[in-house]
């Protein structure tokens, strides 16, 4: 369906618009032009979260910080373009006290409302993957179902003759699932 296909040039254009907004909001997005990546690094002092170990069958490597303790988490988000799927793809990683978070810890630091829905959602899979440009382990939200949740949105926008920033719309859906908030201020007059 050509409606849902995101061309690479359109991807870059969408990112440029997001960057313009980001500069005004000062929320930390930057563009790595050599590698065509949109990067946001949420600073250590701006996100606080709890790590709860609620997993009954805890295996080695799962964080065993006691319930309710508060830690400072640092998240790094990268938006890349997948030419295989013609969609944006979200890569992220998280650290606490210089240590990488495991997937279990990431799940438990996401708001409990999302966490349950996410783990059972057929639309999203989060897996550990090698970052295609940096070669380091990141978590990735698998892009193969992106078209499913983008299509209704894009259809409505097309029916109402409203322009849409594909990347921004996509980010507002997937971002909150992984602790990335997209402020309403992004959706101002122009797209």
């Amino acid at each position: 369906m050509s409606l849902c296909v995101l061309e690479e040039e359109t991807f870059r254009h969408c990112c440029r618009l997001i960057l313009q907004q980001s500069e005004q909001l000062r929320d930390g997005w930057s563009w790595e032009s050599v590698q065509s990546v949109l990067v946001a690094s949420a600073g250590a002092d701006s996100i606080q979260g709890d790590i709860d170990d609620e997993d009954d069958d805890a295996d080695e490597g799962v964080c065993t910080v006691s319930e309710g303790s508060s830690q400072v988490l640092q998240y790094e988000y990268h938006i890349l373009y997948s030419c295989s799927y013609s969609t944006p793809v979200l890569y992220f990683r998280a650290f606490t006290l210089g240590r990488s978070l495991s997937l279990q810890e990431v799940w438990s630091s996401v708001h409990s409302n999302f966490s349950f829905r996410l783990q059972n959602s057929p639309l999203n899979t989060i897996t550990q993957q090698e970052h295609p440009l940096l070669g380091q382990p990141f978590f990735m939200l698998h892009p193969c179902r992106t078209e499913e949740f983008m299509r209704p949105v894009l259809q409505v926008a097309q029916d109402h003759n409203r322009p849409v920033n594909y990347v921004l719309t996509w980010l507002s859906v997937v971002g909150p699932m992984v602790g990335l908030d997209v402020p309403l201020k992004y959706t101002t007059s122009h797209y």
Partner: protein, 298 residues
């Protein structure tokens, strides 16, 4: 033309003789003997090394054992790359057997993905197959398969069952005759000594004029430094499954016959070292390709 099926078999059954040695800093109750194994080029380290783990666990206490990982001359080996690619990229100029060091602590989580179970390997493998089909067929073939068909591909790889695997994989290698080939070719080019893990971009097997693109055409577009200009000596080696296919080889043919089970063409490249030739290459495969060439010559 030599039977193309010979090529498929030779690719599948390619092996690399390997010697696994325990890292000397591991805590052992007695000295650990090295362990020898023939590794399948087309499989993944964590899928085929249960015996290695069992062997070294015999001399270690459980509390000293964390996630197993492998290293070659100081470089952590990425289990999610096919074994043959790791060898070609890191060790092709080494004398066989390939010497790999085994570790059970200090997992380098900045460099390596975790591999807690076989289902992680399965997910990674299926993810590659799906991505390859997205490129070849807009995902139509893989989406038309049932869950049990996907399982058959994985079980075929896991249990080293060529026929079981290809009974299903052949569907992923079909294309409409009028198209002349796949939509795009799934490939990754790995450059030794590069910061970037690999090059992967869109590339069609057939030109707009209807000509078959070759391996040389692909490299010229994606990695032009590897191709010498006319009259210049060859400076780079371009290797698939441990051999150097002729640059004139049609890319569509390479994709159908020399892809890994994950349906990607994994191409390794590095600057030629003058003294040593290629070791550990798949000699049966070379023979098949040579037979094919000589039989097709007038």
């Amino acid at each position: 033309m030599a039977d193309d099926k010979d090529v498929l078999r030779d690719v599948w059954f390619g092996r690399i003789p390997t010697c696994f040695t325990l890292n000397q800093d591991e805590v052992t109750e007695r000295e650990a003997e090295p362990y020898y194994l023939l590794l399948p080029r087309v499989s993944y380290l964590t899928l085929v090394t249960d015996k290695v783990k069992k062997h070294f666990l015999k001399v270690m206490k459980a509390e000293d054992v964390e996630e197993m990982w492998f290293e070659y001359e100081g470089t952590p080996l990425k289990w999610h790359y096919p074994i043959g690619v790791l060898f070609d990229l890191h060790a092709s100029n080494t004398v066989l057997p390939w010497s790999i060091t085994v570790h059970f602590k200090n997992f380098p989580d900045r460099d390596l993905l975790h591999c807690p179970s076989n289902s992680v390997i399965e997910a990674h493998f299926m993810s590659s197959i799906k991505e390859a089909d997205a490129l070849k067929h807009k995902s139509q073939v893989v989406n038309d398969m049932q869950k049990k068909d996907h399982k058959q591909l994985w079980m075929g790889l896991q249990n080293d069952k060529f026929d079981q695997f290809w009974a299903m994989n052949r569907k992923l290698m079909e294309y409409p005759t009028e198209e002349g080939g796949f939509r795009y070719i799934p490939f990754r080019i790995y450059q030794a000594m590069s910061d970037r893990p690999f090059i992967q971009k869109l590339f069609r097997p057939i030109s707009p004029e209807g000509n078959a693109h070759t391996l040389g055409n692909l490299l010229k577009e994606m990695y032009p430094t590897a191709i010498p200009n006319d009259g210049e000596p060859k400076r780079y080696q371009v290797v698939i499954h441990g051999i150097e296919p002729l640059l004139e080889t049609p890319l569509q043919w390479l994709s159908e016959h020399l892809s890994h089970p994950d349906n990607f063409l994994h191409i390794s490249s590095w600057i030629t070292q003058e003294t040593v030739g290629l070791n550990g290459g798949n000699s049966e495969l070379t023979d098949s390709l040579m037979r094919g060439r000589s039989e097709s010559c007038p």
